[in-house]
Symmetry: C2
Subunit: 247 residues, 2 copies
Protein backbone atom coordinates (compact mmCIF):
# COMPACT_ATOMS: atom_id res chain seq x y z
CA UNK A 1 0.00 0.00 0.00
CA UNK A 2 1.28 3.40 -0.96
CA UNK A 3 2.06 5.51 2.05
CA UNK A 4 0.02 8.66 2.28
CA UNK A 5 2.24 11.50 1.12
CA UNK A 6 3.65 13.47 3.98
CA UNK A 7 3.51 17.19 4.23
CA UNK A 8 4.14 19.20 7.30
CA UNK A 9 5.30 22.69 6.57
CA UNK A 10 3.04 25.22 8.19
CA UNK A 11 4.60 28.44 7.06
CA UNK A 12 2.92 29.98 4.01
CA UNK A 13 6.12 31.82 3.19
CA UNK A 14 7.77 28.49 2.33
CA UNK A 15 4.83 27.18 0.36
CA UNK A 16 5.66 25.96 -3.14
CA UNK A 17 2.45 27.40 -4.57
CA UNK A 18 2.65 30.67 -2.66
CA UNK A 19 2.61 32.94 -5.72
CA UNK A 20 0.28 31.00 -8.00
CA UNK A 21 -2.54 29.96 -5.68
CA UNK A 22 -5.57 31.85 -4.44
CA UNK A 23 -3.36 33.50 -1.81
CA UNK A 24 -0.92 34.84 -4.41
CA UNK A 25 -1.73 38.51 -3.91
CA UNK A 26 -2.09 38.42 -0.15
CA UNK A 27 0.06 40.63 2.01
CA UNK A 28 1.64 39.44 5.26
CA UNK A 29 -1.36 40.23 7.42
CA UNK A 30 -3.81 38.49 5.15
CA UNK A 31 -1.52 35.50 4.97
CA UNK A 32 -1.53 35.35 8.74
CA UNK A 33 -5.29 35.24 8.76
CA UNK A 34 -5.26 32.44 6.25
CA UNK A 35 -2.72 30.52 8.30
CA UNK A 36 -5.19 30.62 11.14
CA UNK A 37 -7.86 28.68 9.30
CA UNK A 38 -5.83 26.39 7.08
CA UNK A 39 -4.96 22.74 7.51
CA UNK A 40 -3.40 20.10 5.25
CA UNK A 41 -4.91 16.89 4.01
CA UNK A 42 -3.22 14.11 2.08
CA UNK A 43 -4.81 11.64 -0.29
CA UNK A 44 -3.41 8.67 -2.09
CA UNK A 45 -3.80 8.00 -5.77
CA UNK A 46 -7.26 6.73 -6.60
CA UNK A 47 -9.01 8.10 -3.54
CA UNK A 48 -12.19 10.08 -3.91
CA UNK A 49 -11.82 13.44 -2.23
CA UNK A 50 -15.42 14.56 -2.59
CA UNK A 51 -18.46 12.80 -4.04
CA UNK A 52 -20.80 14.67 -6.29
CA UNK A 53 -23.74 15.92 -4.25
CA UNK A 54 -21.88 15.76 -0.95
CA UNK A 55 -21.83 18.61 1.45
CA UNK A 56 -18.56 20.49 1.03
CA UNK A 57 -17.37 22.03 4.23
CA UNK A 58 -14.02 23.12 2.94
CA UNK A 59 -12.35 24.74 -0.03
CA UNK A 60 -8.66 24.66 -0.79
CA UNK A 61 -5.69 24.52 -3.08
CA UNK A 62 -3.85 21.61 -4.60
CA UNK A 63 -0.31 21.81 -3.19
CA UNK A 64 1.19 18.79 -4.93
CA UNK A 65 -0.14 16.01 -7.12
CA UNK A 66 -3.05 16.01 -9.50
CA UNK A 67 -6.80 15.91 -8.89
CA UNK A 68 -9.59 15.59 -11.40
CA UNK A 69 -13.21 16.69 -11.59
CA UNK A 70 -15.43 14.03 -13.08
CA UNK A 71 -19.04 13.79 -14.17
CA UNK A 72 -20.79 10.46 -14.50
CA UNK A 73 -24.06 9.53 -16.21
CA UNK A 74 -26.42 6.92 -14.78
CA UNK A 75 -25.23 4.30 -17.23
CA UNK A 76 -21.63 4.80 -16.25
CA UNK A 77 -20.30 6.98 -19.05
CA UNK A 78 -17.87 9.39 -17.46
CA UNK A 79 -16.26 12.62 -18.58
CA UNK A 80 -13.45 14.41 -16.83
CA UNK A 81 -14.30 18.11 -16.78
CA UNK A 82 -11.31 19.50 -14.97
CA UNK A 83 -7.71 18.62 -14.31
CA UNK A 84 -6.44 20.29 -11.14
CA UNK A 85 -2.72 20.90 -10.91
CA UNK A 86 -0.68 22.36 -8.07
CA UNK A 87 -2.01 25.81 -7.14
CA UNK A 88 -5.46 25.15 -8.61
CA UNK A 89 -8.44 25.85 -6.42
CA UNK A 90 -11.05 23.33 -5.32
CA UNK A 91 -14.55 24.27 -4.30
CA UNK A 92 -16.89 27.12 -4.81
CA UNK A 93 -17.46 29.78 -2.21
CA UNK A 94 -21.15 30.38 -1.76
CA UNK A 95 -22.25 26.88 -2.63
CA UNK A 96 -22.36 24.00 -0.26
CA UNK A 97 -22.76 20.84 -2.29
CA UNK A 98 -20.26 19.58 -4.80
CA UNK A 99 -21.38 19.43 -8.44
CA UNK A 100 -18.72 16.87 -9.46
CA UNK A 101 -16.72 14.01 -8.08
CA UNK A 102 -13.25 15.14 -7.11
CA UNK A 103 -10.64 12.38 -7.39
CA UNK A 104 -6.99 12.17 -6.46
CA UNK A 105 -5.39 11.06 -9.72
CA UNK A 106 -1.97 10.85 -8.12
CA UNK A 107 -0.91 11.08 -4.49
CA UNK A 108 -2.02 14.49 -3.45
CA UNK A 109 -1.65 17.15 -0.79
CA UNK A 110 -4.24 19.87 -0.35
CA UNK A 111 -4.17 23.06 1.66
CA UNK A 112 -7.73 23.34 2.98
CA UNK A 113 -9.72 26.13 4.53
CA UNK A 114 -12.98 25.63 6.36
CA UNK A 115 -15.56 27.10 4.06
CA UNK A 116 -17.37 29.53 6.33
CA UNK A 117 -14.29 31.30 7.69
CA UNK A 118 -12.83 31.43 4.18
CA UNK A 119 -15.96 33.06 2.83
CA UNK A 120 -15.92 35.60 5.61
CA UNK A 121 -12.28 36.31 4.98
CA UNK A 122 -12.94 36.65 1.28
CA UNK A 123 -15.54 39.34 1.72
CA UNK A 124 -13.06 41.46 3.68
CA UNK A 125 -9.98 40.88 1.58
CA UNK A 126 -10.37 41.94 -2.04
CA UNK A 127 -6.96 40.46 -2.81
CA UNK A 128 -8.33 36.98 -2.38
CA UNK A 129 -11.57 37.63 -4.24
CA UNK A 130 -9.72 39.25 -7.07
CA UNK A 131 -7.23 36.42 -7.40
CA UNK A 132 -10.06 33.90 -7.35
CA UNK A 133 -11.78 35.78 -10.15
CA UNK A 134 -8.59 35.70 -12.22
CA UNK A 135 -8.15 32.00 -11.63
CA UNK A 136 -11.76 31.25 -12.47
CA UNK A 137 -11.52 33.20 -15.72
CA UNK A 138 -8.40 31.23 -16.61
CA UNK A 139 -10.19 27.97 -15.90
CA UNK A 140 -13.08 29.09 -18.05
CA UNK A 141 -10.67 29.74 -20.91
CA UNK A 142 -9.15 26.30 -20.43
CA UNK A 143 -12.59 24.70 -20.38
CA UNK A 144 -13.48 26.43 -23.65
CA UNK A 145 -10.22 25.38 -25.23
CA UNK A 146 -11.16 21.87 -24.23
CA UNK A 147 -14.62 22.16 -25.77
CA UNK A 148 -12.94 22.60 -29.15
CA UNK A 149 -10.87 19.49 -28.51
CA UNK A 150 -13.89 17.44 -27.46
CA UNK A 151 -16.21 18.69 -30.17
CA UNK A 152 -14.07 18.92 -33.26
CA UNK A 153 -10.74 17.16 -33.04
CA UNK A 154 -9.92 13.65 -34.23
CA UNK A 155 -8.64 11.01 -31.83
CA UNK A 156 -5.05 11.60 -32.94
CA UNK A 157 -5.39 15.35 -32.50
CA UNK A 158 -6.96 14.85 -29.10
CA UNK A 159 -4.02 12.80 -27.86
CA UNK A 160 -1.54 15.27 -29.33
CA UNK A 161 -3.44 18.12 -27.65
CA UNK A 162 -3.32 16.44 -24.27
CA UNK A 163 0.38 15.67 -24.59
CA UNK A 164 1.16 19.22 -25.59
CA UNK A 165 -0.79 20.60 -22.65
CA UNK A 166 1.07 18.39 -20.21
CA UNK A 167 4.37 19.17 -21.88
CA UNK A 168 3.70 22.88 -21.79
CA UNK A 169 2.80 22.83 -18.13
CA UNK A 170 5.84 20.78 -17.24
CA UNK A 171 8.03 23.18 -19.14
CA UNK A 172 6.49 26.10 -17.30
CA UNK A 173 7.16 24.53 -13.92
CA UNK A 174 10.65 23.31 -14.64
CA UNK A 175 11.61 26.60 -16.26
CA UNK A 176 14.16 25.07 -18.55
CA UNK A 177 15.48 26.73 -21.63
CA UNK A 178 12.99 26.03 -24.37
CA UNK A 179 15.31 24.33 -26.81
CA UNK A 180 15.88 20.61 -27.11
CA UNK A 181 13.53 17.72 -26.49
CA UNK A 182 10.91 17.80 -23.75
CA UNK A 183 10.72 14.86 -21.35
CA UNK A 184 8.05 14.06 -18.80
CA UNK A 185 6.01 11.32 -17.16
CA UNK A 186 2.34 10.94 -17.97
CA UNK A 187 0.43 11.51 -14.74
CA UNK A 188 -2.67 9.79 -16.11
CA UNK A 189 -3.63 6.21 -16.91
CA UNK A 190 -4.89 5.42 -20.40
CA UNK A 191 -8.37 5.27 -18.95
CA UNK A 192 -8.08 8.70 -17.33
CA UNK A 193 -6.83 10.11 -20.62
CA UNK A 194 -9.82 8.52 -22.35
CA UNK A 195 -12.18 10.09 -19.82
CA UNK A 196 -10.54 13.43 -20.37
CA UNK A 197 -10.69 13.23 -24.15
CA UNK A 198 -14.08 11.62 -24.69
CA UNK A 199 -12.51 8.45 -26.12
CA UNK A 200 -12.19 4.80 -25.10
CA UNK A 201 -9.00 3.56 -23.53
CA UNK A 202 -8.38 1.32 -26.54
CA UNK A 203 -8.41 4.26 -28.90
CA UNK A 204 -6.06 6.17 -26.60
CA UNK A 205 -3.66 3.25 -26.63
CA UNK A 206 -3.84 2.90 -30.41
CA UNK A 207 -3.24 6.58 -31.06
CA UNK A 208 -0.30 6.72 -28.68
CA UNK A 209 1.18 3.73 -30.50
CA UNK A 210 0.60 5.49 -33.81
CA UNK A 211 2.29 8.71 -32.65
CA UNK A 212 5.18 6.59 -31.46
CA UNK A 213 5.43 4.77 -34.79
CA UNK A 214 5.42 8.10 -36.63
CA UNK A 215 8.13 9.36 -34.28
CA UNK A 216 6.14 12.28 -32.99
CA UNK A 217 6.91 10.97 -29.50
CA UNK A 218 9.23 8.40 -27.93
CA UNK A 219 8.14 6.12 -25.12
CA UNK A 220 10.15 4.37 -22.42
CA UNK A 221 7.89 2.07 -20.49
CA UNK A 222 4.24 3.10 -20.61
CA UNK A 223 4.47 6.52 -19.07
CA UNK A 224 7.81 8.16 -19.78
CA UNK A 225 7.46 10.40 -22.82
CA UNK A 226 10.02 12.30 -24.89
CA UNK A 227 8.96 14.93 -27.39
CA UNK A 228 11.78 15.53 -29.85
CA UNK A 229 10.01 18.34 -31.70
CA UNK A 230 7.36 20.37 -29.94
CA UNK A 231 6.39 22.18 -33.16
CA UNK A 232 5.62 18.86 -34.79
CA UNK A 233 3.44 17.85 -31.86
CA UNK A 234 1.52 21.12 -32.04
CA UNK A 235 0.88 20.53 -35.73
CA UNK A 236 -0.46 17.08 -34.93
CA UNK A 237 -2.71 18.71 -32.33
CA UNK A 238 -4.17 20.95 -35.01
CA UNK A 239 -3.04 24.10 -33.22
CA UNK A 240 -1.26 27.05 -34.73
CA UNK A 241 2.35 26.11 -34.36
CA UNK A 242 3.12 29.59 -33.05
CA UNK A 243 1.37 28.43 -29.90
CA UNK A 244 0.46 31.76 -28.37
CA UNK A 245 -0.45 30.36 -24.98
CA UNK A 246 -0.78 31.82 -21.54
CA UNK A 247 0.32 29.64 -18.68
Amino acid sequence: MTPIPKFDHTNCGDCPIRHRAVCAHCDVNELEELEGIKYYRSFEAGQTIIWSGDQMNFVGSVVSGIASLTQTMEDGRTQMVGLLLPSDFVGRPGRDSAPYDVLATTDLVMCCFRKKPFEDLMSNTPHIAHRLLQMTLDELDAAREWMLVLGRKTAREKIASLLSIIARRDASINQKGNTGPIVFDLPLTREAMADYLGLTLETVSRQISALKKDQVITLEGKRHVTIPDMGRLMEEAGDDSDGGFLV
Copy 2:
Protein backbone atom coordinates in the same frame (compact mmCIF):
# COMPACT_ATOMS: atom_id res chain seq x y z
CA MET B 1 -32.26 44.32 -44.99
CA THR B 2 -33.17 43.86 -41.40
CA PRO B 3 -33.29 47.13 -39.51
CA ILE B 4 -30.82 47.36 -36.66
CA PRO B 5 -32.78 46.79 -33.45
CA LYS B 6 -33.58 50.02 -31.67
CA PHE B 7 -32.90 50.58 -28.04
CA ASP B 8 -32.90 53.88 -26.31
CA HIS B 9 -33.65 53.64 -22.64
CA THR B 10 -30.91 55.17 -20.58
CA ASN B 11 -32.18 54.58 -17.09
CA CYS B 12 -30.70 51.50 -15.44
CA GLY B 13 -33.70 51.30 -13.16
CA ASP B 14 -35.86 50.34 -16.13
CA CYS B 15 -33.37 47.90 -17.57
CA PRO B 16 -34.77 44.43 -18.26
CA ILE B 17 -31.59 42.73 -17.07
CA ARG B 18 -31.12 44.97 -14.04
CA HIS B 19 -31.15 42.16 -11.46
CA ARG B 20 -29.37 39.44 -13.39
CA ALA B 21 -26.46 41.24 -15.01
CA VAL B 22 -23.09 42.23 -13.64
CA CYS B 23 -24.73 45.28 -12.05
CA ALA B 24 -27.26 43.18 -10.15
CA HIS B 25 -25.92 43.93 -6.69
CA CYS B 26 -25.12 47.57 -7.25
CA ASP B 27 -26.70 50.20 -5.04
CA VAL B 28 -28.04 53.50 -6.41
CA ASN B 29 -24.71 55.30 -6.22
CA GLU B 30 -22.79 52.55 -7.95
CA LEU B 31 -25.46 52.40 -10.62
CA GLU B 32 -25.04 56.09 -11.19
CA GLU B 33 -21.33 55.62 -11.76
CA LEU B 34 -22.03 52.86 -14.23
CA GLU B 35 -24.54 55.03 -16.04
CA GLY B 36 -21.76 57.52 -16.55
CA ILE B 37 -19.61 55.15 -18.59
CA LYS B 38 -22.18 53.03 -20.35
CA TYR B 39 -23.45 53.20 -23.90
CA TYR B 40 -25.60 50.95 -26.06
CA ARG B 41 -24.69 49.19 -29.27
CA SER B 42 -26.95 47.25 -31.60
CA PHE B 43 -25.99 44.48 -33.96
CA GLU B 44 -27.98 42.58 -36.51
CA ALA B 45 -28.14 38.83 -36.83
CA GLY B 46 -24.99 37.42 -38.38
CA GLN B 47 -22.72 40.36 -37.60
CA THR B 48 -19.38 39.74 -35.98
CA ILE B 49 -19.10 41.77 -32.79
CA ILE B 50 -15.45 41.03 -32.10
CA TRP B 51 -12.87 39.02 -34.03
CA SER B 52 -10.60 36.66 -32.22
CA GLY B 53 -7.31 38.40 -31.56
CA ASP B 54 -8.75 41.90 -31.87
CA GLN B 55 -8.14 44.54 -29.33
CA MET B 56 -11.17 44.75 -27.03
CA ASN B 57 -11.72 48.22 -25.73
CA PHE B 58 -15.03 47.52 -24.10
CA VAL B 59 -16.81 44.98 -21.97
CA GLY B 60 -20.54 44.72 -21.54
CA SER B 61 -23.77 42.84 -21.05
CA VAL B 62 -26.16 41.32 -23.53
CA VAL B 63 -29.44 43.19 -23.08
CA SER B 64 -31.52 41.39 -25.67
CA GLY B 65 -30.84 38.78 -28.32
CA ILE B 66 -28.25 36.05 -28.40
CA ALA B 67 -24.52 36.14 -29.02
CA SER B 68 -22.11 33.25 -29.37
CA LEU B 69 -18.44 32.68 -28.70
CA THR B 70 -16.79 30.63 -31.41
CA GLN B 71 -13.41 29.04 -31.97
CA THR B 72 -12.18 28.14 -35.44
CA MET B 73 -9.32 25.91 -36.56
CA GLU B 74 -7.19 26.73 -39.60
CA ASP B 75 -9.02 24.20 -41.75
CA GLY B 76 -12.38 25.73 -40.91
CA ARG B 77 -13.70 23.36 -38.28
CA THR B 78 -15.58 25.50 -35.78
CA GLN B 79 -16.84 24.94 -32.27
CA MET B 80 -19.14 27.24 -30.37
CA VAL B 81 -17.82 27.56 -26.83
CA GLY B 82 -20.36 29.88 -25.32
CA LEU B 83 -23.92 30.95 -25.84
CA LEU B 84 -24.56 34.39 -24.40
CA LEU B 85 -28.11 35.18 -23.39
CA PRO B 86 -29.58 38.41 -22.03
CA SER B 87 -27.71 39.48 -18.87
CA ASP B 88 -24.58 37.49 -19.77
CA PHE B 89 -21.28 39.32 -19.68
CA VAL B 90 -18.93 39.81 -22.62
CA GLY B 91 -15.24 40.43 -22.23
CA ARG B 92 -12.61 39.90 -19.65
CA PRO B 93 -11.39 42.64 -17.37
CA GLY B 94 -7.61 42.64 -17.27
CA ARG B 95 -7.09 41.28 -20.75
CA ASP B 96 -7.10 43.33 -23.87
CA SER B 97 -7.37 40.97 -26.79
CA ALA B 98 -10.31 38.70 -27.44
CA PRO B 99 -9.65 34.95 -27.33
CA TYR B 100 -12.73 34.04 -29.41
CA ASP B 101 -14.90 35.39 -32.15
CA VAL B 102 -18.06 36.93 -30.75
CA LEU B 103 -21.02 36.75 -33.13
CA ALA B 104 -24.53 38.14 -33.01
CA THR B 105 -26.65 35.03 -33.54
CA THR B 106 -29.84 37.05 -33.53
CA ASP B 107 -30.42 40.78 -33.59
CA LEU B 108 -28.75 42.00 -30.47
CA VAL B 109 -28.44 44.93 -28.09
CA MET B 110 -25.49 45.29 -25.77
CA CYS B 111 -24.88 47.58 -22.84
CA CYS B 112 -21.18 48.43 -23.14
CA PHE B 113 -18.67 49.96 -20.79
CA ARG B 114 -15.32 51.27 -21.88
CA LYS B 115 -12.86 48.80 -20.47
CA LYS B 116 -10.49 51.03 -18.56
CA PRO B 117 -13.13 52.97 -16.59
CA PHE B 118 -14.96 49.73 -15.90
CA GLU B 119 -11.82 48.13 -14.49
CA ASP B 120 -11.21 51.13 -12.30
CA LEU B 121 -14.77 51.07 -11.10
CA MET B 122 -14.52 47.35 -10.42
CA SER B 123 -11.56 47.71 -8.11
CA ASN B 124 -13.49 50.18 -5.96
CA THR B 125 -16.85 48.45 -5.93
CA PRO B 126 -16.76 44.95 -4.51
CA HIS B 127 -20.40 44.49 -5.50
CA ILE B 128 -19.43 44.39 -9.13
CA ALA B 129 -16.36 42.21 -8.68
CA HIS B 130 -18.33 39.80 -6.53
CA ARG B 131 -21.17 39.55 -8.99
CA LEU B 132 -18.74 38.98 -11.82
CA LEU B 133 -17.12 36.16 -9.86
CA GLN B 134 -20.51 34.54 -9.32
CA MET B 135 -21.36 34.83 -12.99
CA THR B 136 -18.01 33.45 -14.06
CA LEU B 137 -18.37 30.47 -11.74
CA ASP B 138 -21.82 29.81 -13.20
CA GLU B 139 -20.40 29.95 -16.71
CA LEU B 140 -17.67 27.54 -15.71
CA ASP B 141 -20.30 25.12 -14.44
CA ALA B 142 -22.19 25.46 -17.70
CA ALA B 143 -19.02 24.87 -19.71
CA ARG B 144 -18.32 21.70 -17.73
CA GLU B 145 -21.85 20.48 -18.18
CA TRP B 146 -21.28 21.00 -21.86
CA MET B 147 -18.03 19.04 -21.82
CA LEU B 148 -20.04 15.98 -20.79
CA VAL B 149 -22.42 16.59 -23.67
CA LEU B 150 -19.60 17.00 -26.19
CA GLY B 151 -17.49 14.15 -24.93
CA ARG B 152 -19.94 11.43 -24.08
CA LYS B 153 -23.42 11.93 -25.43
CA THR B 154 -24.87 10.51 -28.65
CA ALA B 155 -26.18 12.78 -31.38
CA ARG B 156 -29.76 12.25 -30.24
CA GLU B 157 -28.86 13.01 -26.63
CA LYS B 158 -26.98 16.10 -27.72
CA ILE B 159 -29.99 17.51 -29.53
CA ALA B 160 -32.27 16.67 -26.62
CA SER B 161 -29.80 18.34 -24.25
CA LEU B 162 -29.73 21.52 -26.29
CA LEU B 163 -33.51 21.63 -26.57
CA SER B 164 -33.93 21.12 -22.84
CA ILE B 165 -31.46 23.89 -22.08
CA ILE B 166 -33.29 26.32 -24.33
CA ALA B 167 -36.64 25.22 -22.96
CA ARG B 168 -35.49 25.59 -19.39
CA ARG B 169 -34.16 29.08 -19.99
CA ASP B 170 -37.31 30.14 -21.77
CA ALA B 171 -39.39 28.83 -18.91
CA SER B 172 -37.27 30.75 -16.43
CA ILE B 173 -37.70 34.00 -18.32
CA ASN B 174 -41.38 33.66 -19.05
CA GLN B 175 -42.10 32.56 -15.49
CA LYS B 176 -45.10 30.50 -16.45
CA GLY B 177 -46.61 27.85 -14.30
CA ASN B 178 -44.56 24.75 -14.90
CA THR B 179 -47.33 22.46 -16.01
CA GLY B 180 -48.42 21.83 -19.57
CA PRO B 181 -46.42 21.81 -22.76
CA ILE B 182 -43.50 24.14 -23.32
CA VAL B 183 -43.41 26.17 -26.51
CA PHE B 184 -40.57 28.24 -27.93
CA ASP B 185 -38.74 29.29 -31.07
CA LEU B 186 -35.29 27.94 -31.79
CA PRO B 187 -32.93 30.91 -31.83
CA LEU B 188 -30.27 28.96 -33.74
CA THR B 189 -29.92 27.68 -37.28
CA ARG B 190 -29.20 23.99 -37.81
CA GLU B 191 -25.62 24.92 -38.53
CA ALA B 192 -25.25 26.91 -35.31
CA MET B 193 -26.69 23.97 -33.38
CA ALA B 194 -24.18 21.69 -35.09
CA ASP B 195 -21.34 24.03 -34.12
CA TYR B 196 -22.58 24.05 -30.59
CA LEU B 197 -22.90 20.28 -30.35
CA GLY B 198 -19.87 19.13 -32.29
CA LEU B 199 -22.01 17.61 -35.05
CA THR B 200 -22.68 18.27 -38.73
CA LEU B 201 -25.79 20.14 -39.76
CA GLU B 202 -27.06 17.03 -41.55
CA THR B 203 -26.93 15.01 -38.36
CA VAL B 204 -28.71 17.79 -36.48
CA SER B 205 -31.46 17.79 -39.06
CA ARG B 206 -31.82 14.01 -39.00
CA GLN B 207 -31.98 13.83 -35.21
CA ILE B 208 -34.56 16.59 -35.01
CA SER B 209 -36.65 14.70 -37.56
CA ALA B 210 -36.25 11.55 -35.48
CA LEU B 211 -37.34 13.25 -32.26
CA LYS B 212 -40.33 14.61 -34.13
CA LYS B 213 -41.22 11.19 -35.50
CA ASP B 214 -40.99 9.73 -31.99
CA GLN B 215 -43.21 12.54 -30.71
CA VAL B 216 -40.69 13.83 -28.21
CA ILE B 217 -41.19 17.22 -29.85
CA THR B 218 -43.61 18.84 -32.28
CA LEU B 219 -42.51 21.23 -35.00
CA GLU B 220 -44.40 23.99 -36.78
CA GLY B 221 -42.24 25.32 -39.56
CA LYS B 222 -38.53 24.81 -38.97
CA ARG B 223 -38.12 26.70 -35.76
CA HIS B 224 -41.26 26.62 -33.66
CA VAL B 225 -40.98 23.81 -31.13
CA THR B 226 -43.49 22.33 -28.70
CA ILE B 227 -42.42 20.00 -25.95
CA PRO B 228 -45.40 18.02 -24.70
CA ASP B 229 -43.52 16.25 -21.92
CA MET B 230 -40.42 17.82 -20.44
CA GLY B 231 -39.62 14.71 -18.40
CA ARG B 232 -39.52 12.66 -21.56
CA LEU B 233 -37.12 15.14 -23.17
CA MET B 234 -34.83 15.01 -20.15
CA GLU B 235 -34.75 11.24 -20.38
CA GLU B 236 -33.79 11.49 -24.03
CA ALA B 237 -31.02 13.90 -23.02
CA GLY B 238 -29.62 11.29 -20.65
CA ASP B 239 -30.09 13.54 -17.62
CA ASP B 240 -31.62 12.63 -14.32
CA SER B 241 -35.25 13.37 -14.86
CA ASP B 242 -35.43 15.15 -11.50
CA GLY B 243 -33.49 17.92 -13.23
CA GLY B 244 -31.91 19.61 -10.25
CA PHE B 245 -30.84 22.71 -12.12
CA LEU B 246 -29.97 26.21 -11.11
CA VAL B 247 -31.09 28.93 -13.43
